[in-house]
């Protein structure tokens, strides 16, 4: 990671209007993250403390610092850590057991882990594909879904991604997806 220019201001993202409209801000946030210059911070405004994001952006090397700014709103500054992100738990590797279309041992550590359990269908699938589209070929993503995502599996297959997944004891489904090298179509 390059040395951040000291005077680069944080990129501001205010998702409060989206949240008040009952919308889903995750796509907007991830797009903002993708727009960040190297070393730039992200300043997020939300109507609640966005704890799930801490893990997601933590896995991408951002350190959160949150404060309440009145009216129940929160401001969170995600600053890049100086060092490259460390995989914080080795257990995030692809499950060895379970189903999948990807053989071999060349499974990288997932660079991002998302929890989609509390989303309405088909949002868990949309969210997973949104994040997946931002990965480089060969990078992996881990996602927890409410149940075995059979429409998603079909879509992964047709988009040329590899995956491994298994049902967890609580009935949810954990999948690790390795981004394909191009936009290969199946068949």
């Amino acid at each position: 990671m390059s040395i951040p220019p000291p005077d680069l201001p944080p990129l501001d993202v205010d998702v409060r209007p989206i949240l008040r409209d009952g919308g889903e801000p995750f796509g907007a946030i991830m797009e903002a993250v993708a727009r960040l210059a190297p070393g730039q911070s992200l300043r997020l405004y939300a109507t609640f403390k966005p704890v799930p994001l801490f893990g997601v952006l933590g896995a991408r090397g951002f350190e959160p610092s949150a404060r309440e700014i009145g009216g129940g709103d929160w401001e969170v500054l995600f600053s890049p850590r100086a060092a490259a992100p460390q995989p914080d738990r080795p257990a995030t590797a692809a499950p060895a057991a379970g189903n999948g279309n990807g053989g071999g041992d060349d499974w990288p550590e997932p660079s991002i882990e998302i929890d989609n359990r509390d989303l309405d269908p088909p949002e868990p699938m949309v969210r997973t594909l949104e994040v997946l589209e931002k990965l480089m070929p060969g990078e992996a993503l881990a996602a927890i879904l409410p149940r075995e995502p059979i429409f998603l599996l079909k879509e992964l297959e047709s988009r040329g991604h590899r995956w491994r997944g298994a049902t967890e004891p609580d009935g949810s489904y954990r999948i690790v997806i390795r981004a394909g090298d191009g936009r290969a179509a199946a068949s």
Partner: protein, 457 residues
Amino acid sequence: MMGAALSRWTMASFAAALAFLVGAQALMVAGYGFPAADIRAPQTLVVVHMVTIGWLSLLLCGALFQFVPVLVAKPLLHERLVLPSLLLLLAGLVSLLCGFLHLSDRAGIAVMLLALAGVLLPAGFALALFVLGATLWSARPLPLPARFVAVGLACVAATAAFGSLFSLALAGFVARPALLDLHAAGVPVHAAAGFGGWLTFTAVGVSYRLLPMFMLSPDHERATGRVVLYTGGAALALAVVAAPAEALLAGTAVAFHVAGALALVALAAYAADLSHFYRMRKRRVIELNSKSALGAFAGLYLSAVLLLALWATGTISAHAGALVYLVAFGWLTGLGLSQLYKIVPFLTWLECYGPVMGRKPTPRVQDLVVERRDSAWFALYFLGVAAGAGALLAGAPGLFRLASAVTLSATAAIVVELVLVRRLVNVKAALRLPEGTSRPRLFLPPRTETATIGAAR
């Protein structure tokens, strides 16, 4: 498991099913069949089978071809038999209805049509059973909702077997006295297997997955769910197998009463599960499909209360029409319409936006409907059903036709809304058809296989 695709003929079977529902209600408004005619009159048989086979069975078959793979996380096997199955069912139903219409003149044509129906309908159900049964078999051990579907499929086999026997008996091919006795004893069994087993048990099974899925409720298997399966399954076995045997051999009806008691236990346990799903949901504001399903559940439990009341007062045969109406329209049609209101937008969304999801901004599934407008139609529908059941109980055929006009208008409005969903009319123009998508056809499958998923490339 490599995922499952959209079922190609599900929308077409929904379309045919809805056409039969609208047609049957139009006949009811016109005063055709019960209560103007006798409950066993050919006209009544026409309306009843338009509702049970034309509407409810086609609806359920279409839904199962799509949802059995979702329930068991396996692809549908022998998919190429789906269209022949639906065509056989349609042809068999048309023969059956025409055969009923010619019953009174006892002409040779009635014999031929009923005999044809007695072959085509079981063949259509057998193909559907084979496709769904093979898929379930490949996925053993089955999760709870799929086990309900398996019992439902066994019941449709029994229903179709009895139905085939009746139509062959009516056609005069089966004239042996013992079989004709079975015919007389068999009508309640045919109805119990059809309404209780095939339609209700399967719908209950599917509800165990659909309700938690769309309300974000916990859906791990609960002991009460197994109680519903075992007591309900035992009640069906007693009603369909033991009760007719007992009636023929001993002339008593112990098995039928035990079956009734077990069914009540199943209904009570199901009520506990329904209340669990609604109370434990993570989604605070529920959507119209889950809200209007409450009307259907009210229909189910009112039907049970009505059955008990009729049994206690010894008036079951006098009011069987009202009971069947409440089960068919309050419970099964109510649930069918309320779930179609979610399933059609959901499948349409997947068909249209699946290829670009995650790549392009897409509308939400909710954007395909206008719930505020449509909640009125559902309210009107259930009001009409309540009035219709009341009219039948009170012996007021004029009021029944009026109530049927209300349910028909509400149904027609819901059908129009579903057409608007397929046409993406409610989606903002800017989001309607992003590059890489194509407009779904009204009810036919996409022109090529690749158009469903993969059009973006």
